[in-house]
Amino acid sequence: MKDLMIVARYTFKDMVKRKSFIISTLIILIIIVIGFNIPNIMEKLNGNNENTNDKILLVDNQNIFEGTLQRINELHLPYEFEISNDNISFEDVKQKIENEEINSSIIITKTENEIHLEYIVESLVMVEEVPQDLVSAINNIYSSLQITKLNLTQEELSSLTPNFSFELKQTEEKEVSGNVFAIMLLSLVLFYAIYFCAYQVSSSITTEKTSKIMETLVTSTSPRTIVLGKTLGIGVGGLLQVAIMVAVALVSAKTFLPEGTLEAIIDVSKITPTLAIITTIYFLLGYTVYALLYALTGSTVSKPEDINSANGPIAIIAVIGFYLAYFTMMNPTSNLNVFASIFPISSPFCMPFRVMMGVATIQEIIISILILLITILLVAKISIKIYSSAILNYGTKLNIKDILNIYQDKNN
């Protein structure tokens, strides 16, 4: 155990001190911060025009609205309005737009059967229709004017414009006890951690073999300690990287997005302690399974250029596991989803979601966790066995047949 911690500590320190680790982490953090700032950057860029709101000239020279068009300013629309009852032609509007006095104009005219809105902009590129908020605002003001003329009582007015309230209910007895988006996000984070962090276990083991330090290492401690220590060290390093990214993403979201956006997306208050514990357990166990699988592939190759081809199958397994869970989430009561929540390569992605949906039974959770633990022990045992036999296998990549031979060979 002491040796395990020494190997893990050394591996962890070696990993986080590397320039490649520091630079890649920094680049990702910068991308995250910039990503959350895109709305602000866009606003800043537009902000060069002092006020970002478009200025719209509303022309009602027939006085159709009888002066009530001024009320449009009280509706808090994202425009600045100039209202005119003068006779303004298309050419006049064109001149004003060219002089940058206004951005666009709506000329309202009334014929026998309809009220016609003529929306004039500088260019029709990117403008396909009259903005709906403007149309409904003008419509409402006109309707209000006409209703007022009917001299209705307050009750009659209220019945014409009722306040609707909405409530959602389900027929299923089990309740959703979490936040769908938060759990899906966590699945994505786990996938990222496996796909971009856990694979480093294999490169770490292969690099050591390339540097031919293996003989010194295996005579200093046992192969079991090396495999588990390296997996632990790199695993914790990878998790630290993911944790830093998630933390920076959360802080950035809180700081740079409009107030309340983060809370609206990830409502932590809906996540129960049981769900949080189960999700954490699955995250850690899932990460461990994949990290050990990468330790196995790292043991079979001895040249850095072979790592990618050896890791390919594990990456495919991770993708299959993720998508199996993701697509069956749409139908959590299907047999395929039950299978995905028990099958060890997909259960870490799937089971937290089922628990959140309230469709997972205690038995399913226990069986699923037991299968994950057995898988971890099995993969660890095979990895250590292959590692012990393959460490001096310099220069060649072991194929499946070699691996099976090593595993079956009791003398090894």
Binding site: I213, E215, T216, T219, S220, I391, N412
Partner: protein, 296 residues
């Protein structure tokens, strides 16, 4: 106390790499494991240290398995390995701790050997910045940092310049003085002959000669005479039907079958009043014995 290797065998893909090797190291000092390239030296060492499993036989240290729990050992592998990006101090401390040393002792030992092997100035430098010779010295420190009682050195002098070879030799002599059991493998006889008390010569996985080096050499008759003369003595040598192995500026090496031939030659040279600066009857060197035994 010591190491006992009994009838150890190892085959790779049906080919015997090591064929029933047996030897014992009962006293401190250097045991020479000699052989040509591919003779089975490294395989034997790897089996002793448990890096690879033997097919048959027994390897015991004081009657017990050779594992770190039973014997504190150090190993300098033939395949030199080092963490290129890691500082020397960090990697030496790492291996010292893995070998069970506490930090203070490891630190003291590291500083002592770094100074002794003249690499003190590099301990805070990544290994890749060091010359090959200095990297090799660092690997040597890795092998001995934990003050092991059994030290296995596989081709310790390969790749070292003469100055560093002498430095390493002096360290090995220091380790001998400290009563260490050292197994030294090499195919360069001359560089290790001066240390070995016992030797085992391997050829194609089989033992061709083993025993105490001094006794082995004593069992061989003198076969050469080295003479340094002031004049050419070719005619005298040929008059005695002796064969000249080499002659450079009247420094002769002459082959003899019996020591009496050397005595006759010396008498003849005295009779002829020839001034001689050196006259030495020589027994076969380890290199001569090795070449004779492995047939090359």
């Amino acid at each position: 106390m010591g190491l006992k290797v009994t009838n150890v065998q190892k085959s790779f893909t049906g080919k015997k790499a090591v064929d029933s090797i047996s030897f014992e190291i009962n006293n401190p000092g250097v045991f020479g494991l000699l052989g040509t390239n591919g003779a089975g030296k490294t395989t034997t060492i790897r089996m002793i240290l448990g890096i690879i499993k033997k097919d048959a036989g027994e390897i015991k240290w004081n009657g017990k398995e050779v594992i770190r729990k039973h014997v504190n050992f150090g190993y300098l592998p033939e395949e030199r390995g080092i963490y290129p990006k890691t500082k020397i101090y960090d990697q030496l401390m790492y291996f010292a701790e893995l070998k069970g040393m506490d930090k203070e002792k490891a630190n003291n030992s590291l500083k002592y050997w770094a100074k002794r092997l003249e690499v003190e100035e590099y301990i805070n430098v990544p290994a890749e910045k060091l010359s090959k010779g200095n990297q090799q010295k660092i690997q040597f420190i890795t092998a001995i940092i934990n003050d092991p009682e059994l030290i296995v050195l596989d081709e310790p002098f390969s790749g070292l310049d003469p100055v560093n070879t002498e430095l390493l030799k002096s360290v090995i002599l220091e380790l001998i003085d400290k009563g260490k059991y050292i197994i030294m493998s090499s195919h360069q006889m001359s560089s290790i002959e001066e240390f070995c008390t016992d030797v085992l010569i391997l050829n194609k996985g089989k033992t061709v000669l083993k025993g105490n080096l001094k006794e082995i050499k004593q069992s061989y008759k003198a076969n050469k005479v080295e003479i340094s003369s002031t004049v050419n003595i070719d005619s005298i040598i040929s008059s005695l039907n002796l064969r000249v192995i080499s002659n450079k500026d009247n420094d002769y090496t002459i082959q003899i079958q019996e020591e009496i031939e050397a005595t006759n030659l010396l008498e003849k040279l005295v009779q002829e009043n020839i001034k001689i600066n050196k006259f030495e009857i020589k027994k076969p060197t380890l290199n001569d014995i090795f070449i004779e035994k492995v047939g090359k």
